[in-house]
């Protein structure tokens, strides 16, 4: 930033002549230095104020009372005080595996594997169904939410606000509401994630719709096509590769969401976290962690491959 200012000031100096241009340069340079110093001070002060305020609100430098190994109580900063407990907790979740009894140790670690595999299947199905609902809702609403395709501004405004509310409220909050309405079970999870996905996908799809080339639509219209024909043969072929790619990306996100949504009772593997925590089955936690981790990685990898194929298709067309 200063560099470019120096250069322009230098260019100004070169066009003039003698000592006064040099003085002018010095003046401009000093002014620039003052300005950047002022900006820097302002930025740093603002940052420090924000940092102080948020660390006060966030209990970041809270001093807490802990019990020392010899039984006495002492005041410590919360983070170093908590770190040993964190290490202790994590080491509790790691099971003891011996090489010669590896099979039975593993079986002991994943002792609820039948239930877990069922719940994992349920988790993926929740993500699948939520994606389907999100795609249907998002696709239908993306046309009234696109500026170039909406019938009138009122419909545009209402659809956009609806999509914004649907995606700003997190899945877990929708899940809390739907668990109350539709009772405990995967159905509440499907509806919660589906609603959130509708909001997110509707926005992305409508942006895709706004960027389409309108000439194919005019071509279909000129050949005597109705509005539906225009959308079907003029707009959909243009947006389809993008929509597919966004949908796959959303499926990945939904798998992550559905793996934790059970924590509030909306089905899937998340409820097992709650069970394991309340029964203090610490090694179960690491087993669940590994299961979710592996699933997420596999699904991310597979969908990335698929997405690249879809993008490849788009380039070939």
């Amino acid at each position: 930033m200063t560099m470019s200012a120096d250069l322009s000031a230098g260019a100004a100096a070169a066009s003039g002549s003698g000592a006064d241009t040099l003085a002018e340069f010095e003046r401009a340079y000093a002014a620039q230095r003052r300005r950047s110093l002022r900006n820097w001070t302002l930025g740093t002060t603002l940052f420090l104020i924000l940092f102080a305020l948020s660390s006060w609100l966030g209990d970041f430098f809270k001093v807490t009372q802990i019990t020392l190994p010899d039984g006495s109580r002492d005041w410590r900063w919360i983070i170093p005080a908590g770190l040993p407990r964190l290490g202790e907790y994590i080491s509790q979740t790691i099971p003891t595996l011996h090489w010669d009894t590896l099979g039975s140790d593993l079986a002991n670690w994943f002792w609820r594997w039948k239930i877990w595999m069922n719940l994992l299947f349920e988790t993926i199905l929740i993500a699948f169904m939520a994606t389907v609902f999100g795609v249907i809702g998002g696709f239908l609403l993306s046309f009234p939410a696109a500026r170039n395709l909406a019938p009138n501004t009122w419909v545009l405004w209402i659809t956009r606000r609806y999509l914004e509310i649907a995606r700003t409220v997190p899945e877990l909050v929708w899940a809390l509401i739907f668990v109350f309405c539709f009772s405990v079970g995967p159905m509440a999870g499907v509806l919660a994630i589906g609603l959130h996905a509708t909001g997110a996908l509707g926005k992305l799809y409508s942006e895709v719709n706004e960027n389409i080339d309108m000439r194919p639509l005019e071509g279909v219209k000129a050949a005597g096509g109705s509005w539906f024909d225009q959308i079907r043969y003029g707009a959909v072929p243009q947006v389809l590769p993008n929509i597919l790619s966004y949908t796959l990306l959303r499926f990945e996100i939904n798998v992550r969401a559905s793996s934790i949504i059970g924590y509030v009772g909306a089905g899937g593997l998340g409820q097992e976290f709650r069970t394991a925590m309340s029964f203090q089955e610490y090694t179960d936690l690491s087993a669940l962690f590994i299961i979710i981790f592996v699933t997420v990685v596999i699904i991310d990898y597979g969908s990335e491959k698929l997405r690249h194929r879809v993008i490849g298709l788009e380039e070939r067309v």
Partner: protein, 285 residues
């Protein structure tokens, strides 16, 4: 000029592939759709989407939605300050989480950048490390940190920080890789050391990108910060889940609207800052 049915039939005869895809492709498509719809129907059955359940659910949903009007307004300062404090905690969680994540990720990102770290093995390992960190779920991390640090906003901060380390390190290292090599050569030619090359040639190029990434992720962390409270990690989510558990739907809706307003405000402000500092720079995606 209108085509007759006979001409269309003749054209179909001549170029059948222009009218429909070959049989194997059609079969494959049909099988895909059948499998898809079959799976969907199985889910409907397995998740018990029965009409009466949907009907009672919609009835209850209507009741819940009816509490939206008239909106609940907190009439005494004590209750309202609690809500404001919750919103502030959420912002604090997002701010400190983003900041801590960025501080840890910044040095790590140099290890993953091709033009800084020339040891391919180390670079690849670091990048896989980023992916591993990114796969951790924020909420699960929050559950772990609650055990160590107790209920409150601190576990939320740490959960966001840890899950952001992987994202930031990946994005930063991509930003570093996308820099031009010419300023580096310039500093090298005037005798700059490796560290000076990074400080005076690479840093000015990546700083705006990093700032823009930070703002984007701060916005998204404000959104995820609202749910951390549901598991007990502080912020507005704690109050919200508390109100929902007590069936105080009118207060719950008001809190939800406040969350939406806060997210709008933050998006707006960060858009302003981005334009002010970075200008219309569109490289950070």
């Amino acid at each position: 000029m209108t085509l007759t049915a006979k001409e269309i039939a003749a054209a179909k005869e001549r170029v059948p592939l222009a009218f429909q895809a070959p049989l194997p492709v059609r079969l494959r498509r049909a099988a895909l759709w059948a499998g898809f719809i079959g799976l969907f129907c199985y889910c409907l059955w397995a998740f018990d989407f029965s009409p009466e359940r949907i009907w009672t659910g919609l009835g209850r949903l209507g009741t819940v939605l009816s509490f939206m009007f008239p909106p609940h307004v907190w009439d005494n300062w004590r209750d309202f300050s609690e809500v404001l404090n919750g919103l502030g905690e959420t912002l604090a969680i997002a701010f400190l989480g983003t900041l801590l994540g960025a501080i840890v990720a910044f040095p790590l990102s140099f290890l993953g950048a091709k033009n800084i770290n020339r040891f391919s093995l180390l670079r690849q390992t670091t990048r896989r490390g980023y992916d591993v960190i990114r796969a951790f779920e924020t909420l699960i991390l929050a559950l772990i940190f609650i055990r160590a640090f107790g209920l409150g906003p601190l576990p939320g901060i740490l959960a966001i920080a840890v899950s952001e380390i992987g994202t930031f390190a990946k994005l930063f290292s991509e930003a570093i890789e996308n820099t031009s090599k010419k300023p580096v050569d310039g500093v090298k030619a005037s005798g700059g050391s490796r560290l000076q090359q990074i400080r005076y040639a690479i840093a000015p190029q990546v700083n705006p990108v990093i700032l823009s990434i930070l703002l984007y992720n701060f916005e998204s962390n404000v959104r995820s910060g609202t749910i951390l409270g549901i598991v007990g990690a502080g912020g507005i989510g704690f109050l919200l889940s508390d109100r929902i558990a007590a069936y105080k739907w009118d207060e719950a809706w008001s809190i939800i609207f406040l969350i939406i307003a806060m997210v709008y405000l933050i998006d707006y402000l960060s858009g302003l800052i981005r334009q002010r500092i970075i200008g219309k720079w569109d490289g950070a995606k």
